[in-house]
Amino acid sequence: MVAAIRHRKSAVRRVLHVAWLAFLCAALLGVFTPVLAQQAEGSPAPEMPAPEMPAPEMPVPDAADAADAAPAPDTQALDEEVQLLKKDAVDLNRELFMLEEELLFPANTQVAVFLSMDVGEFFALDSVQLKINGREVGNYLYTQREAEALLKGGVHRVYLGNLKVGEHELVAIFTGKGPNEREYRRGASTRFAKAVGAKYLELKITDRQLRGQPEFEIKDWE
């Protein structure tokens, strides 16, 4: 049975996300990846012009001279071209993404349900089941990677759909592991009014430090 059903329109309390952190991670992700087979992880690669040793005079032909004889192909011109192409591909991908969403979920009828977590200690999310007006519209199973992304401050758009203008009911049932490896199954529900224009709802899982318990609520974004 759904135990604690709660709906609270409180101010956004979750505090998170620092842009520098985001950037740092974007930039850092690869820095410490293993370089080539020859180099140990986490260490700098020997840079140009290292690899070749200076040639002794006899009877080895100087590698540098040989290099001058056969000019290196122009990598930069192609790099510029590839960049332009990548940018166009990225832009087109965005356009298609937008076209798809506008076509499938027009702003007038769009309803999106998001899930966020501001917990760490008291709850390991396993799944969330969503019902709108008594009909199951989604049942999402979270992998470890996804749960970690949520803990870092990511917000998952768990449902995107269409609803008519009017009153609706959303029920969310969360499962996961609580303190002491205890299996949790908790629900939260809300009634909301859908007007003309997109509607956003946020399922929030928070730690209540004092009680040592996770709490579940649904925030109605006006």
Partner: protein
């Protein structure tokens, strides 16, 4: 396609087996071949939920089984050997059980002792999305997430053939 009654499932599978015995080349034909594999996440016997799309970059083989299917045991054992060999080359196997009897499925997993993840699909949603009409059934997905091979034929003699096909996928 699947009903929750085991009898219906069994009947269906028997019918499937008969049909496919008549059509030997059916193993190669499947509506999903060349198409992106439908994504899914399932609970695994070992605990964590696993999502297909997170395996992108690896060759993934899905082997659908049921605890009532003896040839499934053979196929899973065969895959376990391949998994031991090709795992370092980026080879992933998911055994997907379609039993609706959870206890039987868990017992089957325990007895099988496969080293790759065994997943549970009691609602048969994933089996449906992959058009599974036979057990065991094997679906191979390339490093880009595209279905490349579907095998309904569970005869021992076909093993070399699909092993070669898997190796080709790994080499791509």
């Amino acid at each position: 396609m699947f009903r929750s009654q085991p009898l219906a499932l069994t009947l269906l599978l028997v019918a499937g087996a008969v049909i496919h015995a008549l059509d030997a080349s059916a193993a190669e034909r499947h509506a999903l071949i060349g198409k992106p594999a439908p994504d899914f996440a399932l609970r695994s016997a070992a605990g964590p939920n696993l999502r297909l799309s997170e395996q992108r970059g690896d060759v993934v083989v899905l082997s659908f089984w049921s605890s009532r299917c003896n040839t499934c045991r053979l196929q899973l054992a065969e895959l376990d050997r391949l998994y031991a060999t090709y795992r370092p080359a980026g080879f992933v196997v998911f055994g997907i059980g379609v039993d609706d009897d959870a206890a039987r499925a868990v017992e089957f997993v325990r007895a099988q002792g496969a080293s790759f993840p065994m997943l549970f699909d009691p609602a048969k949603q994933i089996a449906r999305s992959f058009d599974i009409d036979n057990l065991p059934m094997l679906v191979a997905i390339d490093r880009f997430g595209v279905v490349r091979l579907v095998r309904r034929d569970d005869r021992r003699s076909g093993v070399a053939e699909y092993t070669a096909a898997l190796r080709r996928l790994l080499d791509e």
